[in-house]
């Protein structure tokens, strides 16, 4: 529709916006938000940071940063306190792996799995091992975290988890649905959920398989270099609403966004409709079962609290943690001519991550990997990053 020249007033993008924005077709939303009635107070810190770098997309949602969950009954059976350190995580995962909590007579439960890449593990182990940003400072200038000594330490740790039988050796062929299936069927003790809603989806499905079973969510561990959730890319929103700069109805389009951020809009957006998703009894709001299937949620603003809390304690903890551990990353938007280098280096990185974690490659081959990463375009990326980040500092 857009490429055909028929540009809507209000557009929801899920990728593909950059080429359009660079042609000046999308409106700078910052002045609109600044003069808004509701939106200006509805943003999260990462929204503000992203709008400063890329003012064309607006996606008012809490940060998506995966966090680990486990069956509460299994956790109680371990008799362990909630893990606080990397060592505590290893102890907990080992206890689950050896505990035969699924009752099949074999100690064959894996501690932890991840879907297709180790990206989910990065969310809780990056800060612990010192991977604090995409571009890490060194005396020579920034280097990409993927070729940093901190990354090497983290991957060595992940490899040791796999070696001890605590990390699923088949994570790389584990798609998201299989990941969930392994969790619900007891083949894996712990998985990571990317948002509060996802944690409750896991909880709901677990209840269907094992009625009465709740989930418990753990904080990211303290490691040798720190603690927290992975730094959040604030270079731009990867999805969200945009307004056409050519629109003759910009005010109306923005009014829709502002209404969605208002208390009335949020009530409708997040709670659904009276009599369907919730009922009012004696002046009090009670959610119905239908709330579980309500998923309009175009915006989840930072400043509106629902009148009834229906998120599970684990999901609420997820929300609290993404706020507590929020750290902005220093990643930036790349010019199109680096697309091939970004693709090539990402492929090299992921292939070597699997080699290191699976034991196919020894950590002694780290320099070989770094050379391959640089040869695939890493040198050019690093040179450009130094120009960009030095200029901004």
């Amino acid at each position: 529709m857009i490429l055909a020249g028929d540009i809507p007033d209000l557009i929801y993008f899920q990728g593909g916006d950059a080429k359009i924005a660079e042609q000046g077709v999308l409106e700078d939303l910052r002045p609109w938000i600044e003069n808004s009635e509701f939106l200006k107070d509805a943003l999260y810190p990462h929204n503000v940071d992203r709008l400063a770098n890329y003012p064309y997309l607006l996606y008012v949602f809490p940060v998506r940063n995966p966090q680990p969950v486990m069956r509460a009954d299994w956790f109680e059976r371990t008799g362990l306190p909630a893990p606080q350190t990397v060592e505590d995580y290893v102890t907990l995962l080992s206890t689950v792996a050896q505990g035969d909590y699924d009752g099949d007579g074999q100690a064959n439960t894996l501690g932890l799995t991840s879907a297709e890449t180790t990206a989910e593990l990065d969310a809780i182990f990056n800060q612990a091992f010192g991977v604090t940003a995409t571009w890490m400072p060194t005396p020579e200038g920034v280097i990409n975290a993927r070729v940093s000594p901190q990354e090497r330490d983290k991957l060595a740790f992940c490899g040791s988890l796999r070696e001890q039988g605590l990390l699923d050796p088949e994570y790389i062929t584990t798609k998201w649905d299989v990941k969930e299936d392994k969790f619900y069927s007891g083949r894996v003790g712990m998985i990571l959920g990317s948002s509060a809603e996802v944690v409750d989806i896991y909880g709901g499905k677990m209840q269907q398989v094992h009625p009465g079973t709740e989930l418990v969510l753990f904080d990211p561990p303290q490691g040798p270099a720190g603690r927290g959730l992975a730094a959040v890319d604030v270079s731009n929103e990867s999805r969200g609403f945009a307004i056409s700069a050519l629109s003759e109805h910009k005010e109306e389009a923005f009014a829709v966004l502002d209404f969605m951020a208002s208390p009335e809009g949020q009530m409708m957006d997040r709670m659904g409709f009276a009599g369907t998703q919730y009922v009012i009894r004696d002046g009090k709001i009670e959610v119905t079962d239908a709330i579980a299937t309500w998923y309009a949620r175009f915006m989840v603003t930072a400043n509106w609290t629902p009148p009834v809390q229906w998120l599970s304690p684990a999901a609420q903890q997820h929300l609290a943690n993404v706020s507590t551990y929020y750290v902005a990353d220093n990643a930036f938007v790349w010019p199109p001519e680096f697309a091939a280098d970004l693709d090539a280096t990402t492929n090299v990185y992921r292939e070597w991550v699997y080699k290191f974690v699976s034991g196919e490659a020894s950590m002694d081959q780290w320099d070989e990997y770094v050379a391959a990463w640089n040869a695939a375009g890493g040198d050019r990326l690093t040179a450009h990053a130094r120009e960009v980040l030095d200029a901004s500092n």
Binding site: G15, P336, A340
Partner: protein, 333 residues
Amino acid sequence: MTERGTLAARTAPAVGNLPGSLSASRSAARRTGPGRSARARALRDWWPYYAMMAPGLIFFAVFHYLPIWEARLAFQDVRIIPPNIWVGLKHFEVLLGSAVFWQVFANTLIISAMKIAFVFPVPILVALLLNEVRSGPLRKSIQSAIYLPHFLSWVVIAGIFIAALSPSDGVANEVRGFMGLEPRSYMTDHGSIRWVLVFSEIWRSAGWDRLLYLAAILAIDPQLYDAAEMDGATRWQKMRFVTLPGIAPTIATLFILNAGMFLSADLNQVINLSNDAVRSQIDIIDTYVYRIGLQTGEFSLATSAGLFKGILGMILIVAAHTLSKRLTGKGVW
């Protein structure tokens, strides 16, 4: 009299007896002379056939011929607000200048060659073998069983293969275990993954693709088999000297058409069966363009890759056609 003339003489009386027939239309056209009225009459007489043909023509016009014109995007920077900017070979330079592209190109050639060598003959073999099965119920059961996978999506097939080849509890490694062999992670092994593509393609398409050969076999004159039997030919000899030559034109045609698709090693299959451990082995032009062209909105780059593939495909078709004409006397035109 020429062969065509003979055929026309044989068919003319029969066709002429049909109401509203082509010969009648042609006669009418001769009476009125060539022109709009003749075409209008032909259209009026034959409109149901034109109507049946229309969806196919529209499909090819919209999805195959119109894109040829739109391929000019490969030489332009696309602008949302027209006009697009002519940039010549810039996108081809970006595409061909990437070191990764040539690795991807090599992967495409290798995987396509493996498929031509190992996948293409299987439906022929299956058709020949099934033709020899005398028991009707058995033949039908086998036919049903082997063409069902054609209706499964690659998402489902990938799930089946990943589960079946799992090193921990996959059936393939269970079999290896019975044979005293160590488990093997076929899905992450550089030496195995291309064979996974080949075998999954065979599993999915062999049953369906052999239908064309089966149709060709059924079209062979039964008298040829009777004559061969009278000459004392064995079943093997009948297959070798009657069936196989009988379906040779079909094989040649399909081979030429497959050659045209040589660089399309199946995006869906590769995306669903790929993983980070083996991407360097099975990353093909289509998956590469999907990532750096379509996902990032670089439509001109994606179009240049499509055009590159199309031109090479055309060259391969012409080459295969010429070769086939020289060797068998038959081609696709």
